[in-house]
Symmetry: C2
């Protein structure tokens, strides 16, 4: 049964308010990886934490912060939604390796090394040339391994991703992307990458952002589950999860912040274009409160047994977090 499983969405950036938390609670999701920042620097990241502390205070009947997987279990027991934090970029550490442990203490459990562009640590997936993991990046990976901050390469370029997998002594994740074999997109990942990722014990979260999906906003539940079933055959079910990339109720300004940050004077359209610059239409079978349960049922229909469907909708994230965020003594 859906309700028996720990359900985790491995990436969202919706408009976080009380109504949305109620929707999450009703969805049966026990924990969400919430994007804390896109381009915010260290100082601004503190303000984002402060804003979340205020949400936790005002909605303590609905949500709680996740500092360890025990908090996810508590959330499930109490019928609340655990929120764990990730950064989509390495901007929270500025140029300072010491801030990795500081951010980890604040509850930043996951950090991408780059968001689309070249960063101080690695190359993003929209750059023309991928120079791989930088000198600072190599140090940062070692430190992230030490403190138990999970490396996420969702928005990184291929060579950088392969090198991160190689350098990291702990499994890494691609929290939200799909295989290019299912849909060709700069943000999706090649078989080479997913093979290396999963062979090293890593986790792939399937995205439900229409630009990453076969047939875009017309992607059916069947299309989506077929993609998962193919990957389960190729890479093993224990490496697969959901990272929906759901961005509900956000204005266009947020999309522009995600895409442009402070770095460009020209509009960047991501995987869209000038004639298609807005939020893509959400998937009707996913955006509502039954989204995760629909996936669960879809997986059962595709021949997954209850246990394996449960792994994909949350248990794999739980296990990955449990081992991934333990500091090395």
């Amino acid at each position: 049964m859906y309700q028996d499983h720990i359900v985790i969405d491995g990436l969202q950036y919706s408009h976080w308010d009380r109504n949305y938390f109620k929707m999450l609670q009703a969805s049966g999701i026990n924990a969400v990886h919430a994007t804390l920042v896109y381009h915010e620097d260290a100082r601004q990241t503190m303000t984002r934490f402060a804003e979340w502390n205020s949400r936790f205070e005002q909605n303590s009947d609905l949500i709680l912060p996740v500092y360890s997987v025990t908090d996810i279990e508590t959330a499930k027991q109490q019928g609340k939604v655990g929120i764990f934090f990730g950064a989509q970029n390495c901007s929270p550490i500025d140029d300072e390796i010491g801030l990795i442990s500081v951010m980890r203490r604040l509850g930043l459990l996951i950090m991408q090394l780059t968001y689309n562009n070249q960063s101080l640590l690695a190359t993003g997936c929209y750059e023309q040339n991928d120079s791989g993991i930088t000198r600072f990046g190599q140090q940062a990976i070692v430190e992230m391994n030490r403190v138990g901050m999970i490396i996420d390469m969702s928005h990184s370029a291929e060579q950088s991703t392969l090198e991160a997998i190689e350098i990291s002594k702990r499994p890494i994740c691609i929290s939200h992307a799909n295989p290019t074999t299912a849909h060709e997109a700069l943000r999706n990942k090649s078989d080479t990458v997913i093979s290396a990722l999963t062979k090293a014990g890593g986790l792939l979260g399937f995205s439900l952002y229409p630009f990453h999906l076969p047939n875009g906003s017309d992607c059916t539940l069947n299309d989506f589950c077929t993609m998962i079933a193919d990957c389960a055959d190729k890479y093993g079910v224990e490496h697969l999860a959901i990272g929906s990339d759901l961005c509900l109720n956000q204005p266009q300004a947020v999309l522009e912040w995600m895409r442009n940050g402070r770095w460009s004077k020209e509009m960047d359209y991501g995987e869209g274009n000038a004639n298609n610059s807005g939020w893509p239409d959400t998937l009707p079978w996913f955006a509502g409160k039954d989204g995760m349960e629909n996936i669960y049922n879809g997986l059962l229909k595709h021949g997954f047994n209850d246990k394996d469907a449960g792994k994909i909708i949350g248990q794999n994230w739980f296990d990955f977090l449990e081992s991934g965020i333990k500091p090395i003594a």
Copy 2:
């Protein structure tokens, strides 16, 4: 016996290096309230935490961070020194109330509302006019009470201190200062303040900074213990502790940072003057590894029993922390 007690020094700002940690360990001190910042803003405070994380990593055989009093017990059991953090000013929160919970999460257990000067929250003890707790200060006190961050008024002016005691729903501390009845100084506290503080359940840590002491650097152990004994009679032994204000092995530049921060182009001499602008000579019976044990023995000679001497050298700080840093649910 000295060794049976939990020993806590309620304020130090020494030059923190491995040799000094060994000295602390040898002194039998189980925990030290380390000043994290004087004038550093939020961003710079993160770097101070990062520097400490590096010290914890490199000296994990000697020191550990204190996030709750359990960590102090662990330190004692393991023969290590627990480090708990305080700010001598409200600069770590910039102008943002939300940063109180963020700093608390990072381990800032104690914060002064002001350091000598007017701050955004209150008036410092060197200002000519004391306008009391500000509008922001009132909000900050409520928030510090909520998250379990202890209010420290060591460097604050009289009216501000009395108002902080009144407004705060939890006992506050003066972590390092002495009674003006023992020695007249802008940094020392009147009977009015100490009476109000202790009646409200607060804690006074006696300072060993020569400018705060009767006879300055010539203050004897006997002078010091007489001061404590007088206070025990007046205010009750359960409100008394040690906050040595020990600043060992620091260069003149650090003294100037403490006094001048970024706020003055002219030299500020604190309680010194142009002809006496350096660090005062330390007390020979305190600055070495036997300092706290000397105080313990001095207290016994002054008629304190073992239990009460133990309260003063650490148990009172332990109990005060235990209740003071628990967040209000």
